[in-house]
C-alpha cells in the first residue's frame, strides 16, 4: 500500500509536470497546435464521422472556424465525441477547449455549471416526431396523451417534455436513455410512439431511420432552444475569440463574403466595412486585440465559409436534411440572426 501511494503521487506529479496548468486557453491551444473540440457522438448534419472517420457537420464547422481563426488551419482540430453526461465534465475539466454540441443556453448552465455561452449558432425548438404509418390520424402533439415517448436523459428536452404534458393535463410513459444511439434504436424498434428532441435533431434523426418517409415531425414547438457553443468560465479572452468567430461568420454572410470570393474581396474591395473586418484597414488592431492575427476573418471564411454557406452545406438545401433557414435567416431576411458589428 505504501508503494502504491508513492506510485500514485509520483504519477500525479509526473502528469502535472507534463501538462502545465494554465488559465489562458488561447496559449494552450497555440502551444499544442490543435484545438480540442467536444462534439456530439453522431448527429447527421451537426456532427458525425463520415466513412473515412473525418468529422463533418454544422457544429464541427464551428470548431473548424475557431481553429482557422486561432491556428490558421481549419483541420487542426481534435474531436471528442461526448454524450449528454460527459459534455459538461469534459469542458469543466479542461479536456476540451470548446463545446460545440447543440447545447441549449440556459441560465443554470451559465451559472451553476460554470460555463459561458459564446452566442447562438442555431435557434431551435423542441418538437415531436411520430411514425405516421403506424399512428394514422395524429396531427397534433395534443393528441399524444397515453403515448410512450423516447427522450434522451439529462437534457433540457426531458424537462420540457414533463412540463408540456403536465401543463396540458396529458399522461405519457417516458422511455429514457443516456446515449443518443439508444434513443434512436428504441424509437426505430417501436419501443415508443413518439420521439422528442430539438426539431433540427428530429430532422437529422429521421434521415438515419430505415424508412424516413414514414415519419413526420408534428407542428408544435414546445420550447425555445437556443443552441450555442460554450466555453469555461473565467477566460474572457477565449470567450471573446469564440464569440467573435461566430459573429464574423454571420457578418460575412451579411456582406456577401463567401469562401469563393474572400481572397478577391480582401485584395480588391473598396467597401470600408469589408476592408475592416478582413483586416485590410490601415493601422487596425482588431485582430491583435483579440489575440489573433489580423487576417483572422479571412482564415475563417477561407476555411469554412460564411454562416449561410455552412448552414446550407450541412443542414440546409445542400444537404439531405433540407432544413429551412426560418428563424436562422439573417435579421435582414426575416430571421433573427444578428451579429454586433466588428469595429
Amino acid at each position: 500500500m505504501k508503494n502504491l501511494v508513492k506510485l500514485l503521487v509520483g504519477a500525479g506529479v509526473l502528469a502535472a509536470a507534463s501538462s502545465v496548468a494554465s488559465a489562458a486557453t488561447l496559449d494552450d491551444v497555440k502551444s499544442r497546435g490543435t484545438l480540442r473540440c467536444g462534439v456530439n457522438t453522431g448527429l447527421a448534419g451537426f456532427a458525425s464521422p463520415n466513412n473515412q472517420g473525418q468529422w463533418t457537420g454544422f457544429d464541427v464547422d464551428l470548431c473548424r472556424a475557431v481553429a482557422a481563426a486561432v491556428l490558421g488551419d481549419p483541420d487542426k482540430v481534435n474531436y471528442t465525441p461526448t454524450n449528454a453526461t460527459e459534455r459538461f465534465t469534459a469542458l469543466q475539466s479542461g479536456e476540451i477547449d470548446l463545446l460545440a454540441r447543440n447545447t441549449t443556453w440556459t441560465l443554470s448552465r451559465d451559472t451553476k455549471l460554470g460555463f459561458n455561452f459564446a452566442g447562438v449558432n442555431y435557434y431551435d425548438g423542441q418538437g415531436f416526431m411520430i411514425n405516421a404509418k403506424n399512428l394514422e390520424g395524429i396531427t397534433s402533439a395534443l393528441q399524444l396523451s397515453g403515448a410512450s415517448v423516447c427522450v434522451q436523459g439529462g437534457t433540457t428536452t426531458e424537462l420540457n417534455l414533463a412540463d408540456y404534458f403536465r401543463a396540458n393535463n396529458m399522461e405519457y410513459n417516458p422511455v429514457v436513455f443516456q446515449a443518443l444511439e439508444e434513443v434512436n434504436a428504441a424509437y426505430e424498434s417501436g419501443r415508443c410512439d413518439v420521439y422528442t428532441t430539438d426539431q433540427s435533431g428530429l430532422y437529422s434523426i429521421r434521415l438515419q431511420l430505415a424508412a424516413p418517409d414514414d415519419h413526420v415531425v408534428l407542428p408544435e414547438i414546445i420550447s425555445k432552444e437556443p443552441l450555442g457553443p460554450a466555453v469555461r468560465q473565467g477566460d474572457d479572452q477565449w470567450l471573446d475569440i469564440v464569440k467573435w468567430t461566430l459573429n464574423a461568420m454571420i457578418i460575412a454572410e451579411e456582406l456577401g463574403i463567401t469562401q469563393a470570393n474572400v481572397e478577391e474581396m480582401a485584395n480588391t474591395s473598396t467597401n470600408p466595412e469589408v476592408r475592416r473586418i478582413l483586416g485590410k484597414e490601415e493601422g487596425s488592431t482588431l485582430g491583435a486585440d483579440l489575440g489573433l492575427p489580423n487576417d483572422w476573418v479571412v482564415n475563417i471564411i477561407k476555411g469554412v465559409g460564411n454562416y449561410g454557406e455552412v448552414f446550407e452545406r450541412n443542414i440546409g438545401s445542400g444537404s439531405p436534411l433540407k432544413i429551412a433557414r426560418g428563424l436562422n435567416a439573417l435579421w435582414s431576411k426575416g430571421g433573427i440572426m444578428y451579429a454586433p458589428p466588428i469595429r
Binding site: 451553476k112 399512428l135 403536465r166 417516458p174 429514457v176 443516456q178
Partner: protein, 417 residues
C-alpha cells in the same frame, strides 16, 4: 534487508544502528510515512476539488435534494411525478434497484439450484443440457446478456397491434411435424415490444375476508407445525405438516372468496390508442434486466450448488441408507444441511454481485439508482454528491447483506457440533 540476516535484531541489541533495525521502530516509521503520504494525497485531492468547484462556480452540498426534480420516471413503486423532489427521485431509483435485485435473486436461486442438481443428475441428457447452459452463460459479459434479451428478443416482438397472447402451448413444432395440439391455453396476458401485460386483480368490497382467510391459514399452519413437532418428540409419530399447511394456506382464502360472494374482479389489458391499457404492464427494460441477471447469475449459482453437493462425502449418503433412511429424507435431512454450509458463503457473494450488476440498468434505460442518479447529475450538475449517494447506498446494501449472511452462516455452522 541483507543486514537483517547477519545479526538478529531485538531488544538486546542497543547499539546506534539497532534503532533502525528494530522491527517495531521500522514498522512505526513505515506507518508514519504512510499516514503522511496518504494525508498529503487526500489534502492534494481535496484542495484541487474545492479549487475546481470554486473556479467553475459549481455549488456543492446536498441542498439540491430538496429541489424540484422536473423529470419523469418510467417506472415507480411509489407515487412520483415531475413535481417531486430529487430526494424522492433517488428513493424511486433505490426501490427499483431493490425490486430487480430481489426478484432476480429469487429466480436465479431457483434456476441455479435446478441446474446445479441437474449437472449431477444420473440422466446423461439433462447433465449435458445443464453443462451447456452453465458454460455459455458463465463466459459472456452480463451486459451482453442484457442487450441480447433487450435488443435481440424483446425488441423483435411485434408491436402493440399484433400483441402475442401468452399461454401454455399444448404442442410444439418440430422438423418432423407438430407434436401435440396446435392450441394454447390463454391467460389474457399479452406480450409485445412494449412489455408484458398481465391482468390485474381489482379487490372490491368484502375482499378483507380473503386476507383474513390467508392470515388464518398461516397462523394455523404454524400451530399445526408446533403441535406435530411436539407430538413427534413425545411419541415419534410423524404428521404430514407440509401437505396440511398448503391445504390451509390455499384453502382458507379460497373458501373466504366464495363466502364473500366472489368480490374480486380482474382488470384485463385491452387495446388502447397507442398501446394496451389496463392490467399491469411489466416494462421490457425491467423484464430484460431481470431475466438477464437471473440467467447470468444462475450459471454461477449452479456451479456453487454442484460444488456444495460434491463437497458432502459419499459416506454420508451411504451411512443414511445403511440406517434405512429413504432417498428423499436423506437428501433433505443429511445432504442439503451439510451442503448448505459450503454453499452459503459463495452464494452470498453471488447475491451481492447480482445486486451490483443491476446497475447495468443504465445501459437499457431501466430507472434504477444509477440511471436516476445520472439524470440527476446532468440536470443539477452535482456530480460529487450523486457519486457519494451511490457509494453510500451500495456499501450499505453490501455490508448489511454480509452481516446478515455471516450471522446466518454462524448459525448454520453451529448445528454441526
Amino acid at each position: 534487508m541483507a543486514t537483517d540476516s547477519t545479526h538478529l535484531p531485538g531488544p538486546a541489541a542497543t547499539s546506534r544502528s539497532s534503532a533502525l533495525n528494530n522491527p517495531q521502530v521500522r514498522s512505526i516509521i513505515a506507518q508514519v510515512v504512510l499516514v503522511v503520504l496518504l494525508a498529503l494525497f487526500i489534502w492534494w485531492i481535496v484542495g484541487n476539488t474545492t479549487d475546481n468547484l470554486r473556479r467553475q462556480n459549481i455549488a456543492s452540498g446536498f441542498g439540491f435534494l430538496d429541489a424540484r426534480a422536473g423529470f419523469d420516471v418510467a417506472q415507480s413503486l411509489i407515487p412520483y411525478g415531475s413535481n417531486s423532489l430529487y430526494r424522492q427521485a433517488f428513493l424511486v431509483g433505490l426501490l427499483n434497484t431493490l425490486l430487480v435485485a430481489v426478484t432476480g435473486i429469487i429466480t436465479a436461486s431457483i434456476i441455479g439450484f435446478l441446474v446445479g442438481v441437474g449437472r449431477l443428475s444420473r440422466n446423461w441428457l439433462i447433465r449435458q443440457i445443464c453443462m451447456v447452459y452453465v458454460e455459455v452463460f458463465r463466459n459472456i459479459p452480463p451486459l451482453l446478456v442484457i442487450f441480447f434479451i433487450y435488443l435481440g428478443v424483446l425488441s423483435a416482438l411485434p408491436g402493440a397491434r399484433d400483441s402475442l397472447e401468452v399461454g401454455i402451448p399444448l404442442g410444439i413444432q418440430t422438423p418432423f411435424g407438430l407434436i401435440g395440439w396446435d392450441d394454447t391455453i390463454g391467460f389474457n396476458a399479452w406480450l409485445n415490444n412494449r412489455g408484458f401485460f398481465i391482468p390485474r386483480p381489482v379487490f372490491n368490497e368484502g375482499s378483507w375476508l380473503i386476507l383474513a382467510g390467508l392470515i388464518a391459514g398461516l397462523v394455523m399452519s404454524v400451530l399445526v407445525y408446533r403441535w406435530a413437532r411436539a407430538r413427534q418428540m413425545a411419541t415419534g409419530e410423524q404428521f404430514p405438516v407440509l401437505r396440511t399447511s398448503i391445504l390451509l394456506i390455499l384453502g382458507l382464502p379460497l373458501l373466504a372468496y366464495f363466502l364473500a360472494g366472489m368480490p374480486v374482479d380482474v382488470d384485463v389489458p385491452v387495446k388502447g390508442n397507442f398501446n394496451l391499457t389496463g392490467g399491469v404492464q411489466v416494462k421490457p427494460e425491467f423484464l430484460s434486466l431481470y431475466l438477464a441477471l437471473s440467467l447470468y447469475t444462475a450459471s454461477f449459482i449452479a456451479e456453487i450448488v454442484r460444488a456444495g453437493i460434491l463437497g458432502v462425502s459419499r459416506g454420508q449418503t451411504e451411512a443414511a441408507y445403511a440406517l434405512g433412511v429413504r432417498a428423499g429424507p436423506t437428501l433433505r435431512l443429511i445432504i442439503i444441511p451439510q451442503a448448505m454450509r459450503i454453499i452459503i458463503p459463495p452464494l452470498t457473494s453471488q447475491y451481492l454481485n447480482l445486486t451490483k450488476n443491476s446497475s447495468l440498468a443504465v445501459a437499457i434505460g431501466y430507472p434504477d439508482l444509477v440511471q436516476i442518479g445520472q439524470t440527476a447529475m446532468n440536470q443539477s450538475g452535482q456530480a460529487i454528491e450523486v457519486v457519494a449517494i451511490w457509494m453510500v447506498v451500495y456499501l450499505t446494501i453490501s455490508l448489511t447483506t454480509s452481516v446478515f449472511m455471516n450471522w446466518f452462516n454462524n448459525r448454520m455452522s453451529l448445528v454441526e457440533r
